[in-house]
């Protein structure tokens, strides 16, 4: 697939510039401007209330010594390590199931997509009821099965409980990506393989998997970005007194430092580190893409 398209000529160039200007303006001053502002702020001590003072790299030094931030970063990394493969695998499985000719497939697809369009706050409240230690649905089922109830939000389990909810919330979107990928695979390949005597498994591993690698690549990329930015479900499910959370993640730490603790400089340094990690991962993914992703 070439990305070149048709090149504008003569007066067209002028109109291209005019029509792109509003978007570019927003991008440059909004996105780029705030990135730059964050970089500058990360080099200052700023409480939001009084003018910032120069801090040099002090805020970056604190990234390594601040126990709270180290905990948050550890949580984010652990979360991502479970969430990304979880989302990719679960949405691929769902997409394959939903890619068959079954009765009412659109109804099922809608069901899987519902979490994506549901308010995270409302969904988190429902999950709270499911996970409840004494009154929760999950423990009720476990007890009926003769198993010991689990404390889903105790320190040792909370992260896993939260990962499950986040995967549940993201499967719908991944399913759409994979469905699109699956439906792009030409039928003839399967027909030819069948004629050659390939079974279901062989067709899946030899045709579907290689040809769906672009979707897997894309979904992994998006899920990684989402994992590092995850916040809403986690906060809703693990919050406790006065804005605190029992599973603090990096985004939570950024928010709390900036707006609860009046430490905008430190919050900015944390944001930069988060962005740097994501950028590094993206670079790694693109390196992998060149080696393993199959484009037709």
């Amino acid at each position: 697939m070439g990305a070149s398209g048709i090149k504008p000529l003569g007066r067209e160039r002028f109109w291209v510039a005019v029509l792109l200007a509003p978007t570019l303006f927003g991008l440059v001053f909004g996105a780029l401007g705030s990135v730059l502002a964050t970089v500058i702020l990360s080099l200052t001590h700023w409480d939001l209330l009084t003018p910032p003072t120069w801090a040099g790299l002090a805020n970056y030094g604190k990234l390594f010594t601040d126990d709270k931030f180290v905990t948050a970063l550890t949580n984010t990394v652990k979360f991502s390590a479970m969430y990304v493969p979880g989302v990719v695998a679960a949405s691929l499985v769902v997409a394959i199931l939903m890619n068959r000719k079954i009765r009412g497939v659109s109804v099922f697809r809608t069901f899987y997509f519902l979490p994506v369009v549901t308010s995270a706050v409302a969904a988190a409240l429902v999950w709270q009821m499911i996970y409840g230690k004494e009154t929760g649905l999950l423990n009720f089922i476990l007890e009926k099965l003769g198993l010991a109830p689990v404390c889903w939000f105790c320190a040792k389990n909370a992260l896993y409980s939260v990962v499950i909810v986040n995967i549940w919330g993201a499967v719908g979107e991944g399913m759409i990506i994979f469905l699109a990928g699956l439906q792009c695979i030409p039928r003839e390949y399967y027909e030819a393989a069948t004629v050659d005597g390939a079974g279901d498994w062989q067709r899946f591993w030899r045709i579907t998997m290689p040809l769906i690698t672009p979707s897997i690549f894309f979904q992994t990329l998006i899920s990684t970005i989402n994992a590092f930015q995850a916040y809403d479900y986690i906060y809703m499910l693990t919050r406790r007194g006065q804005g605190d959370s029992s599973v603090p993640v990096v985004v939570f730490s950024i928010y709390r430092n900036a707006f609860n603790f009046h430490r905008m400089g430190e919050a900015s340094a944390q944001a930069i580190e988060l962005a740097a990690i994501v950028v590094a991962l993206m670079a790694f993914y693109f390196w992998l893409e060149r080696r393993y992703v199959v484009y037709e």
Binding site: L36, C151, R240
Partner: protein, 440 residues
């Protein structure tokens, strides 16, 4: 590549220019003396006022703004009410942008975190120009705002913590209502009787006692004080929640949760969405007056009693919300006039209608507040007022937010049943003291 650098530099300059907006340097300006030039000039003034609260509270604030406007036709007050979390974010952002509201609400424990940054106006010159202005105030909430060089804020209303009890549950168990003079031991015994497994599934459906164990205000500061201990040293350099007397208070909560099982651990308590009293899940529940409008519509009978006594006497907690004026306000005189009005008998009476707190003016508290019947219920309002006599001020010090986070976060694993009491307290004290050392 060079071109990119140029663009970057241009941006840096543009941003630097944005950042250099006129947030007044702390202490740079001398306290302005009250003058009436502004009012005399007759130019229309628009003030902005911000407070946290539920959407329906905006009506009451608007009435206060209208009442003020009737007396000061030149001044219009723009009211802005948002929920607690959004309020602080919004306020921070407005300050960062150099356009803070003229007058805004302050939670007393956070007062010094703000005042110490030099962003609040010293109200002392204005108070001096209004002789006798503070005479009618309750002295306890007022104390929290007084600094060496005067008041940088004034309380508007306050909360004393009292014991709410579910009458129906006590009646059903044949337990006498708590009376003045009861003790924490009495409470523990009562809670044990009142905790019930009503459907015989081996789990407690009705809890005897419950309270917020993250923040100190609702029960743990009261317990520590009445066991003869303290929360923090008088000079705010040492955390005292690990001292022997305080440990007795912690031990009591520990025993109620894990030995008596009359009090839910925090994981179970959170399943009720933060409040166990309103859904009728707990018999004894310490709370402030702000909960009353919510409780008024509940389907059971309830009342309030004084807090229990301990070996160190009877102690409860008092905390206030107040008004502060931004140092950068362009209309400090008008802002003061508004604060003055909101703290007058007229303004205080209207504020009392919210039913959320005790007015800071004694005359209004002794009349409008005492006679108040929120949601048609006759509540023993006197208990809230009497509590002032034995209340300790919720500590107000610089670094409060970070300290409270270190403590609340540190003790949390104890109450979810995941950490031992003694060793955890040792660690929390070290962490909390580190915060105090950094802030001083």
């Amino acid at each position: 590549m060079k071109k990119h650098l140029v663009i970057l530099v241009v941006f840096a300059l543009a941003l630097a220019a944005c950042g250099a907006q006129p947030t007044q340097a702390p202490g740079a300006s001398t306290s302005p003396l009250p003058s009436t030039t502004q009012a005399a000039a007759g130019e229309p003034v628009e003030l902005t006022f911000m407070a946290w609260g539920a959407p329906e509270e905006l009506d009451v604030w608007q009435q206060i703004a209208d009442g003020f406007h009737a007396i000061n036709p030149n001044t219009t007050v723009k009211m802005d009410v948002s929920d607690w979390d959004s309020y602080w974010t919004k306020l921070d952002t407005l300050y960062a942008g150099g356009t803070p509201p003229d007058v805004f609400a302050m939670d007393a424990p956070m007062y010094l975190d703000w005042q110490s940054r030099g962003v609040l106006l010293n109200l002392q010159p204005y108070i001096d120009a209004t002789p006798g202005f503070l005479d009618g105030f309750y002295p306890e909430p007022l104390k929290g705002y007084k600094l060496a060089d005067g008041y940088y804020g004034l309380p508007r209303d306050f909360q004393t913590i009292v014991m709410f009890y579910n009458k129906d549950m006590l009646d059903a168990a044949g337990v006498a209502y708590p009376q003045q003079g009861w003790t924490w031991d009495d409470l523990r015994a009562m809670a044990k009787t009142l905790a019930l497994d009503t459907n015989g599934d081996g789990k407690t459906e009705q809890w005897g006692f419950s309270c917020d164990l993250w923040d100190m205000e609702l029960c743990w500061s009261e317990a520590i004080w009445s066991y003869g201990g303290d929360v923090i040293s008088a000079d705010y350099t040492k955390t005292l929640i690990g001292e022997p007397m305080a440990r007795q208070a912690w031990q009591m909560f520990w025993d109620m949760i894990f030995t008596d099982k009359s009090m839910p651990d925090t994981i179970v308590a959170s399943e009720f969405g933060g409040d166990l009293f309103q859904p009728g899940a707990v018999a004894l529940y310490p709370m402030g007056h702000w909960a009353i409008p919510g409780y008024a519509g509940s389907g059971f009978n309830w009342d309030v009693a004084p807090m229990p006594s301990g070996p160190g006497g009877q102690v409860t907690s008092v905390n206030s919300a107040g008004f502060v004026v931004a140092q950068a306000s362009k209309h400090p005189e008008a802002a003061w006039e508004f604060v003055k009005y909101a703290l007058s008998a007229d303004g205080q009476t209207r504020l009392t209608e919210l039913g959320l707190a005790i007015p800071v003016l004694r005359s209004v508290a002794e009349s409008t507040f005492l006679e108040q019947q929120v949601g048609g219920r006759s509540i023993n309002q006197r208990v809230f007022l009497d509590a002032v006599a034995y209340a300790h001020l919720k500590p107000i010090f610089k670094g409060y937010t970070l300290w409270a986070d270190a403590v609340g976060n540190g003790i949390a694993p104890i109450w979810s049943g995941e950490a031992e009491l003694g060793p955890t307290l040792d660690l929390v004290v070290v962490d909390a003291d580190k915060v105090l050392a950094e802030e001083n």
